[in-house]
């Protein structure tokens, strides 16, 4: 029974990891590839680690597994956001068939400051809070 549960969890985790790898090959754009790595791979690794926790049935191993899962869930979106922001700043092109680019013309390329209005040439205003 335990073996069946471990096998099922390992199967689903492996399927998600394989789908993440196939998505990283097949996606047409850097940003779409980043979105693949954050979701599918995190879920797959979480399921594999849950299989290990159920197999060992041990308090220390379960605590270790929960620590790894919590760490991955916390750090995967942060890393994906950082690399996506850096790749937008160094000028990685979007896909040809992308519908919208919300950041187009809204940041200064020299200072990396984001402004909410369409101020292409003039420096961005100081952010006054409307009080």
């Amino acid at each position: 029974m335990i073996d069946l549960l471990v096998g099922t969890l390992a199967t689903f985790g492996t399927i998600f990891v394989l789908l993440a790898a196939v998505g990283l090959i097949r996606m047409p754009d850097t940003y779409l590839r980043i979105s693949v790595t954050t979701k599918a791979a995190t879920l797959g690794i979480g399921l594999l680690l849950m299989a290990a926790a159920i197999h060992f049935d041990n308090l220390s191993t379960t605590a270790r597994v929960l620590a790894i899962i919590l760490f991955i869930i916390l750090t995967a979106p942060v890393g994906a956001h950082l690399i996506g922001r850096a790749s937008y700043f160094i000028g990685v092109k979007l896909w040809d068939k992308s519908v919208m680019d919300d950041l187009a013309g809204k940041y200064k390329k020299s200072t990396h400051r984001l402004s909410s209005e369409d101020t292409d040439n003039e420096p961005p205003k100081e952010q006054n809070t409307p009080e």
């Binding site: 995190t42 797959g44 950082l82 700043f89």
Partner: protein, 91 residues
């Protein structure tokens, strides 16, 4: 078919195939951001392989190495993105 055989002959080859696909993307990624993402996902998949090995050989000590690899993946991504952004800013 026991769990040992199932993990050894089905799960581990599928994980190896996914490592191979990720390595193809790591070699032919058009931009450097693709390579960083592929490296991150390579380390994350290797955490899964370490987990399966720790189930196969009944050594829960291997999970410590998985934790350290998760830390190294995050630090590598943060360092690479910081470096890419600063490199373009200062020239």
């Amino acid at each position: 078919m026991t769990l040992h055989d199932y993990l050894n002959f089905i799960i581990l080859p599928i994980l190896a195939v996914s490592i191979l696909l990720l390595f193809i993307r790591f070699l032919m990624g058009p931009s450097i951001a693709d390579r960083v993402v592929a490296l991150d996902l390579l380390i994350t998949t290797s955490i899964g392989i370490i987990t399966i090995y720790s189930i196969l050989y009944d050594h829960p000590t291997f999970l410590d190495i998985a934790m350290i690899l998760a830390l190294i993946a995050f630090l590598g991504t943060v360092a690479f993105s910081y470096y890419l952004e600063k490199r373009n800013k200062n020239d």
